[in-house]
Amino acid sequence: MTVTARRTLILGTLGGSLGLLSPAGGARAQQMEPQRAANFIRTTGQELVAAINADGPVPQRRDRVGAILRQAVDVQGVGRFILGRWWRTANAQQQQEYLRLFEEVLIRNLSSRFGEYQGLTFSLGRSQSRTEEDVLVSTIVERAGSPAFGLDWRVAEVGGQPRVVDVIAEGTSLRLTTRSEYSSVITRNGNNVQALLGAMRQQITQLAAREGT
């Protein structure tokens, strides 16, 4: 496999798994300090890389990654953003189930590819820029023998804490891409949110099977 392909692969999947993220919309009045956001990303990134590269069985590492993501990602806000207009058409039970599945997809997307991420290192990029609602922190992800690639993290203040709300890989926001994907699944199944939940369950089963190999 070429260096380029590998880079793209890692980028795509890192983005794919971490990138399903976003603000819940609305209450995001507080301003985030760029330096604080950068420190938060540095710490979270190091924790994540350490968990991925740790020794030990996959389920144990997955639990650790799950704990880090729950802490670092605004799972609820991002999940709601991605479901978008369908959030209100879903009943309370479907909303709960959706958020649970969404978190699981997030974690399993990473844990199914632990092998490929071995030896990953992570450093802050040159720029941190503030937008109206959040801070964009650029990072550089490297693997031995591979050229570096950039990954941008959108960090917002949620409940007084910095949280990741989006990951942008090569100009593609994963929360926007996922929103389009989920909405398309619902629309094409007669505007039925239940169809999305079924597809997500199936996806988790598939990811779990990949983890085992």
Partner: protein, 274 residues
């Protein structure tokens, strides 16, 4: 033996037949129906319909289906063979040569967009890589701090204010738009070899086109596998990724990544370039 061959041939035949019927269907759908417009009173649905910019969705989905079949049967296997038979160093050299051959078109588009700084970088890259890089085999310009970027006439048209037009999915070529199709034609027109006849030139053009196709698809093996494996709707994922990415490319925003796709028409999830 004969029986075995017959049973083996059957799926192939039915596949071809299916392909034909799908092509027919695509034509019918393309001529006839557009995507069902949402209820005009449902403002969010209308907003989403506009944001997706895909009024020809049924036709595009049929085209995507056809493309997916061709890709599975021909394009991806060809890219796999290319990867298996050529060592990484050779593939990198080919990639570098192709990128260098494309530099004049990038330069013209830099200039058409009034990007003098980027035009200077492109010129520098071409001079360094053609000489020190031995005909573009080695990307020495990057060592001198001259990082590559892409431009194409589709981006130039966008900078000039041409509208994007509805999203299009074209079998083999991938996601696009009327503006990017026009841009693709413009880039071909900018290539001096387009106007030179002769068997040698034709052979060069064919070789170059083939190499570009193989190189592009090879770089996309994993990302596309990944989308196919994990997206709940690969068509929607590719549409969203392509359109977001074109916006960034048009604005020349730094993406934290090296120069990317060579073509205005592409997957939208193109691999990084050296």
């Amino acid at each position: 033996m004969i029986a075995t061959r017959a049973t083996q041939a059957a799926p192939g035949l039915s596949r071809a037949a299916r392909l034909r019927s799908v092509l027919g269907l695509a034509l019918l759908v393309g001529l006839g129906a557009c995507a069902t417009r949402p209820d005009p009173t449902d403002t969010e649905a209308v907003a989403e319909f506009r944001a997706n910019n895909d009024p020809l969705e049924p036709m595009n989905r049929a085209a995507y289906f056809v493309h997916d079949g061709i890709d599975t049967l021909v394009l991806r296997p060809a890219a796999e063979i290319y990867r298996v038979f050529l060592p990484p160093e050779v593939r990198t050299a080919i990639r570098n040569v192709l990128a260098n051959l494309r530099t004049p078109v990038i330069l013209v588009n830099d200039l058409l967009q009034g990007e003098t700084q980027r035009a200077a970088t492109t010129t520098g890259r071409f001079l360094v890589n053609t000489t020190v890089g031995i005909g573009g085999i080695f990307d020495r310009a990057t060592d001198f701090g001259l990082l590559g970027h892409t431009e194409d006439f589709g981006q130039t048209l966008a900078v000039w204010g041409a509208p994007e037009g509805p999203y299009l999915f074209i079998p083999v070529l991938g996601p696009s738009s009327p503006r990017d199709v026009a841009g693709f034609a413009g880039d071909v027109a900018m290539n001096p070899l387009t106007y030179v006849g002769g068997e040698t030139v034709d052979a060069i053009t064919i070789t170059r086109t083939g190499a570009t196709a193989l190189d592009t698809r090879e770089g996309l093996i994993e990302p596309i596998d990944q989308v196919r494996a994990t997206s709940l709707d690969p068509y929607a994922t590719i549409r969203s990724a392509y359109r977001q990415r074109r916006v960034v490319e048009i604005r020349n925003e730094p993406t934290g990544a090296a120069a990317t796709s060579d073509l205005g028409i592409g997957s939208g999830i193109q691999g990084l370039r050296r």
